[in-house]
Point group: none
Chain length 133, copies 4
């Protein structure tokens, strides 16, 4: 499981970390019971302040996705996969809805908006994931 954050994004770093762990659990890369990297290690890996990682972990603990294990760190909870699959859709939907709201008020036609979505999606996938075939 590899993590990465984009410091220049408008999305706060701690939210990027939260989203990545949620996505990782939803996808199955982080199964229940798995111990996740310590605050210090993850902070070093991501080149961010430990407080930032800590904040992400706190929030994930609050929502029942991570469970603290004394002396060891944090482990993925049993209900995490279910919770994360739900939240994954929610996160994606909320962000897209916000962007589409502005698109809708811009008087761009439905075709133009869809074209932009297509272009951006393929630009990202071509770049990020490469050719799957």
């Amino acid at each position: 499981m590899l993590f990465e954050v984009r410091a220049e994004s408008s999305i706060p770093i701690y939210e990027q970390i939260i989203a990545q762990i949620i996505f990782g659990v939803a996808e199955g890369g982080l199964p229940p019971g798995q111990l996740i990297p310590s605050v210090r290690d993850l902070a070093k890996q991501l080149l961010v302040h430990p407080n930032t990682v800590s904040r992400a972990f706190q929030e994930l603990e609050r929502t029942g996705i991570l469970i603290p294990v004394r002396g060891l760190g944090m482990k993925v909870s049993d209900e995490a996969p279910r919770l994360c699959r739900e939240r994954r859709r929610e996160i994606v939907r909320a962000r897209l809805a916000e962007a589409l709201r502005e698109a809708a008020s811009s008087a761009l036609s439905e075709e133009e908006v869809h074209q932009i979505v297509q272009e951006e999606w393929h630009r990202l996938n071509g770049k990020a994931k490469g050719t799957k075939s």
Copy 2:
């Protein structure tokens, strides 16, 4: 030309005002030469502080979209339509790209993402524009 802002949005009010004027010019509702509402009037209409409106106007002036006419107010520049059509696409594209980047990293399939886009788009349009017939 009607303006409105959503105070609870994560997008700053002054940026919402900027976007609305850009969209208005791009759409043709604000033709070159037109005087736009005064800082004080618009502030009253939007129920925000005049400084907030003023800040939006100044950014639009620096971008060459609005031109100050001393003692009269701000007027739409001649190059504004071209500039605004460009920036409108830019704004929409940037916001969608940010949301799609996260969607791409979520391991949701292309079909699921497109379905969400469809759903949200029609939810917004059904709500905002509706079938008037």
Copy 3:
């Protein structure tokens, strides 16, 4: 005697009018006793608000350069040529000093500053006055 103002200049219009009358008197184009155009006429000619012209005239009257003649308008005073030749140098010097102060703090070398002065001066003269020969 021809007047003109540049609305987009950072120098207020009424100051441009004041400067032009002062320069006109200093140069001899407006001799003592000469009646200058009325507020209304000059405003129409310059496409500015009559109040703006009026303000310029008031200031020129305050400094003894223009004298009101009841029922006729304003005439150039007898001391005007002397006063204006002094003030002309002063105005030019003050504006240049302000610009040079910033140039001095910019760590540009003396050569670079002089080069800019040369370039700008010739650009203006080539454009505004044409070939004198």
Copy 4:
């Protein structure tokens, strides 16, 4: 790197701050990557309100000269030196051009104008830099 503003100048304080940072970067006193003083510190040093400093920083960010580092402050961007050297010349040229335009319309001879430039330049340098020996 020392900053100072002249409250009585006709140039707005926030623009003076902008110009000083641009000049500082152009000169090399503020190299890329360097963190500049915080809004609050600089405000205290200049005896102005933090908002005024903040406004200057934001304009420099929009121009790509400063980059916000969340939680740390603002750092000088990599392209800043190039951008600032360009803008420095631009600022100086624009202000001198404005002053020279008026000088040109004053019917003063080229010699007189150059003499004024010389006098003012040496007055400023004698005063500001002087011979320290």
